[in-house]
Assembly symmetry: C2
Homo-oligomer: 127 residues x 2
DNA sequence: CTGAATCCGCGGGGATACTG
DNA sequence: CAGTATCCCCGCGGATTCAG
């Protein structure tokens, strides 16, 4: 999926092609900074909108709502509205969301592990 | 790192804050569609520019060069120039790059695994 | 073939105001 | 407090051109 070498370009199988385009679409949704940061911020906890806004450093109101909608649409987060006043909305990772979280952790771990190496590489390159 | 709850906001420790901002920078570099797709396209192989352009479906000339520069700068890909005519340039993942590839595979695997679930969630949401 | 540079349009994304 | 809508601008990113 996603990359060419893994796809069988059988022109007669429209289903595979459709599934692949869907996979690429999901990949594009998920492989972006904010979506991943939100996912990690949620973790095992359930947070309200304003808390999330504080946890995900630097995210704007707009980006947060946009990405939350997207994550909700893809079934990665569960959105629970309490019809109180003032309103309260809780966000929680669903099972797929928690599963994705594992991969985010992997990226974070990777970043941590190679931080020094990357810093060095940059210094070397910037000359 | 990256998210607030993992950071200790000790105002006296400027080093930690710097490392954190660096981590967020690297995360932003790496957590983007094209960088990840290029990384996976490379895999264990070494490809030239034009081959990469074919492998990474839909990427433009400009985005490819830009991301390759970025990956090279961070020491994730090795760039080997053959001073022939016409010129030939080979790209290969370095060890950090191959390590990152593992996490990309994880995301791809995740996509694959939850594709059906996500498709369903979308259908439910789009009503 | 690789890649830097230029032009340019479109959309991402911030700020703000307004509803419930 | 949560969310939508509007305005608006900057920068991403595509197309094209030029160089080596």
């Amino acid at each position: 999926m996603v990359t060419k070498q893994l796809r069988e370009d059988l022109p007669e199988d429209a289903d595979l092609r459709r599934a692949d385009s869907l996979a690429r679409e999901i990949f594009s949704d998920v492989a972006n900074k904010w979506a991943l940061l939100i996912t990690e911020a949620l973790g095992e906890r359930t947070l309200r909108f304003s808390e999330l806004r504080n946890e995900v450093e630097g995210i704007s109101h707009k980006m947060l709502t946009q990405n939350l909608r997207m994550l909700e649409r893809n079934g990665l987060v569960d959105r629970k509205v309490y019809p109180t006043v003032p309103p309260r909305v809780d966000y929680t990772l669903t099972e797929p969301g928690r599963a994705l979280r594992g991969t985010v952790d992997a990226i974070c771990g990777w970043t941590h592990q190679y931080l020094g190496s990357i810093e060095d590489a940059r210094r070397r390159f910037d000359t």
